[in-house]
């Protein structure tokens, strides 16, 4: 059993994912429970993901789960939106209301008029897909322009490689760094990420530190001198938003100097000559000028990466958020492709869900696999964005968020009427948040699922459903390997898990719903895995056997990647497509290309006079997950104020001292933050994102628009593919000391 008796304290083994730590998760934990109350949380020492370690957010779970402001019962609005007017309701009443409203929308306007909105890679993502699918709406989305969080990278890999790949930190080996099969990356490139503060996309950030400690040479690409940058052998403080040029420039060095893996390129790739010609358009002089970097440094980084074997690369969301994020991701993808760092120990390895179990489908194939033809073709064709963006039509099944916002505001081509918003606080977290707010104010009925009252729920919700932290719910997960179980340790209030909520709504909204209970659905997910639900719960985590298609290495040689069982990659040509046949077919440039940010000193010299600094935002902090955790005192202590990092010399030019309150301003808006001296590029300031003040007045949006850097974000899209280009990494701004130095 998952419960191990230990005197009077029960220990429940579970997995961290989403609400609580907030993250994409995967850490194995022992939850100590006495008399139904959580006593403490401990990392499990031999869990392959976290090896006993835990981050501050997970360690503060008790303060989060038992927070006095947790929502404990469903709420139904009694007054106007934006006012603090609610009455508590039973689940049955609240869900019946949601059921009747959504059914009415479906009947009158069609199910497509209801949109389902998620935030980051929380477990609710899979559940929203499930709910939307059962209800019959093709419109589910990430609350972010261009789905600019991992989707562009995932798609670039899918198009070029036929699969998703991740750096090999030994994470798929139980013995981890001691595994005899694994090799330490000789060189580790960290591209636009601060892994100290974050465990993105199934990749535990500190794995990189473990590798560097063991001797991996480190290359860090970041305009900010992070602690990690200080430990780098080569640090490239590039101009924000120019990642695409840098990647193409590095490709060019590697190709020109013949540092690429010729055998691998010949045997396993197509389109090399085309890529070579494209890369040649990015000579060092040009790239150095674009990126604000010294030529030699770029060449040195390219050589260090290409000469190392194996070499690993971890990338962050600036790749997605660059203009044409898809294209930037493709260029970086080709770095590991032409150097042959594919499916080798310590290189980049194909990541597939353990035992083939997908509970969180992204691609159309996966959705098809899971739910078959549950939605008819006419209905599928109503997905927002498919007409405008072939890539949206053909690949990941998400509605195009920017098109959704426009459609909510215009009612064209068909009206949007209702929404289910879960695990996102976009009234704070979206770029140009007031436009998003207005778009959803246009809808007749909004359901918000959350653990706390947020500015989004206050502004938009007609019904609020109280959700559960990860300690309060069951589940199974295969975000790559191992396959893990989440086991319920405690109950809080009348809260229900996202899974329970979406399951119950699906049951109510679909006539021929085929599952009796949630465990039935888990069993359905597990049906082809050879694992039983009981086993997964009992074992807590199960690493697939060595010869499983989910396990590295050299799977392309063994014929484990393609559906037809032939050697090669799951692309149309069977090779890694350096020039993509599919992109060509869909009317796009088949090769990566650099696109200048919309608002930069280069593209808008006219604006740069008034707004001389580049504003970069969205970097993670260890204390918070995006807009969350400001209300947990132990975490807030780590980061009490909204900070903007600035170089001391830049600050001196503006008469700003360390710790001063300042205004950031640009053509879109302004916000008030606190200056923190850092060795960030002198022409760049780096501002923390998604700040709101849970301690402030509820009906005044909790101060959500005072210290919120998203007020300076232009919003909208800078990508032709529909994926990427959220433009939060490079816009223009100016800074001045605030007259009023009182705390926010």
């Amino acid at each position: 059993m998952s419960d191990i008796a230990d005197g009077e304290t029960r220990i429940v083994r579970s997995t961290v994912w989403s609400a609580g730590a907030g993250c994409h998760g995967g850490c194995g934990v022992n939850l100590h429970v006495r008399d139904g109350k959580l006593e403490k949380i401990e990392g499990i020492a031999d869990h392959p993901y976290n090896q006993g370690t835990l981050c501050p957010r997970a360690l503060a779970l008790k303060d989060y789960a038992y927070h006095p402001n947790r929502l404990t019962r469903p709420l139904i609005r009694t007054g106007a939106r934006g006012t603090d007017t609610w009455r508590p309701a039973s689940w049955d009443e609240a869900l019946s209301l949601v059921e009747s409203k959504l059914s009415a929308v479906k009947q009158e306007f069609g199910a497509e008029s209801t949109v389902f909105v998620q935030g980051t890679g929380r477990d609710v993502g899979g559940w929203l897909v499930f709910l939307a699918y059962n209800y019959g709406s093709p419109n589910w989305m990430q609350a972010l322009p261009g789905n600019s969080c991992y989707h562009p990278r995932l798609l670039a890999m899918k198009v070029a490689m036929g699969d998703y790949v991740v750096p090999d930190n030994s994470q798929f080996q139980q013995a981890r760094y001691e595994s005899p099969e694994w090799r330490l990356p000789e060189c580790y490139v960290v591209w636009g990420q601060n892994p100290v503060a974050t465990c993105n996309d199934g990749n535990h950030g500190h794995w990189i530190i473990h590798c560097v400690k063991r001797g991996s040479k480190l290359v860090v690409i970041d305009p900010n001198y992070t602690w990690l940058a200080s430990r780098a052998d080569i640090w490239l403080p590039l101009r924000p938003g120019t990642d695409g040029a840098l990647a193409l420039g590095m490709l060019n060095v590697i190709i020109e100097e013949e540092l690429y893996d010729k055998d691998f390129v010949e045997k396993w790739t197509v389109g090399f000559e085309q890529l070579k010609a494209r890369a040649a358009e990015y000579p060092l002089d040009r790239v150095a000028e674009i990126c604000w970097l010294k030529k030699d440094l770029i060449a040195e980084a390219a050589r260090a990466y290409a000469r190392a074997s194996p070499a690993a690369l971890q990338w962050g969301v600036p790749v997605d958020m660059a203009p044409e994020g898809f294209s930037v991701a493709s260029a970086i993808n080709h770095l590991w492709a032409i150097t042959g760092n594919v499916e080798i120990p310590g290189g980049m390895i194909v990541a597939r869900p353990a035992f083939g179990m997908t509970a969180y489908p992204m691609s159309q194939d996966a959705i098809q696999d899971m739910y078959g033809d549950l939605m008819d073709k006419d209905q599928q064709a109503k997905r927002i964005g498919v007409d405008e963006f072939p890539l949206v039509r053909h690949m990941h099944w998400r509605a195009q968020p920017d098109s959704v916002i426009t459609q909510a505001l215009t009612g064209k081509p068909y009206p949007l009427k209702a929404s289910v918003i879960a695990g996102t606080n976009f009234v704070v977290g979206a770029q140009d948040p007031l436009r998003w707010r207005k778009a959803f104010e246009n809808l007749d009925f909004n359901v918000v699922v959350d653990l706390f009252m947020t500015p989004t729920a206050m502004a938009l919700a007609d019904v609020v459903l109280p959700s559960a932290s990860f300690a309060e719910r069951d589940g199974i997960r295969a975000w790559w390997s191992p396959l893990t179980a989440q086991n319920t340790a405690i109950r809080f209030g009348d809260c229900r898990s996202d899974a329970e909520i979406c399951f119950e709504l699906s049951r109510r909204l679909r006539d021929d719903f085929q599952f009796e209970t949630l465990p039935d659905l888990y069993r359905y997910y597990l049906k082809d895995t050879g694992q039983t639900l009981e086993d997964v719960r009992e074992e807590h985590w199960i690493m697939p056997p060595r010869d499983s298609p989910a396990m590295p290495y050299h799977r392309h040689e063994k014929g484990l990647l393609r559906a037809d069982g032939k050697p090669g990659f799951a692309t149309p040509s069977g090779k890694i497509e350096l020039a993509s046949s599919q992109m060509q077919e869909w009317g796009y440039d088949p090769l990566p290309v650099y696109v200048e940010p919309t608002y930069s000193p280069v593209s808008r010299p006219d604006m740069a006079e008034e707004y001389p600094l580049i504003l970069n935002t969205g970097s993670r902090t260890i204390a918070f997950f995006h807009s969350e955790h400001r209300n947990v005192p132990k975490l807030r202590r780590l980061n009490p104020d909204p900070l903007v990092e600035i170089h001391p010399e830049t600050a001196a030019n503006y008469g700003i001292a360390d710790g001063d309150w300042v205004w950031l301003e640009n053509h879109v808006g302004k916000c008030r933050m606190r200056a923190k001296f850092a060795y960030v590029h002198p022409r760049v300031v780096v501002a923390q994102h998604s700040w709101w003040m849970p301690e402030k007045v509820r009906e005044k949006d909790y101060g959500a628009y005072e210290s919120n850097v998203n007020m300076l974000m232009p919003g909208g899209l800078s990508s032709k593919s529909g994926f990427g280009g959220a433009q939060v990494k490079s816009v223009l701004c100016r800074i001045r000391k605030a007259d009023d130095q009182a705390a926010a």
């Binding site: 835990l54 100290v196 400690k213």
Partner: protein, 126 residues
Amino acid sequence: MTVYGLWIDYEYCTGCKACEIACQQEHGFDTEELGIQVLEQLMNGGQTYNFMPIPTDLCDLCTERVQREGRPSCVHHCMAKVMEFGPVEDLARRMSQKPRSVIWAPKPRPRDQRPFDGADTGGSAQ
């Protein structure tokens, strides 16, 4: 008497502060009470950038926990795995192999000890 301590490889301490929160949880400390504090050292124009975890006088080296399960909470949870617990003599051998590391040998003082305990402060500064 064997003196125990904490060895910390501050070359790779990332400043994640998991140790601070782990310690608070283990001892039931309030928000402002710390058994270990991570200080940032960013100076000399960026030439020096270190995080330095320093035990406070609340650190009891997790005496109870160590008896039960062998190592302190901070050591167990440290994200970068840069902390070790043991007799200072053993730790000194580690330190002799690893520059940019440090050993602390904490000795706790009572939790409720405050500077003005003996003074009449007129009700303030408690």
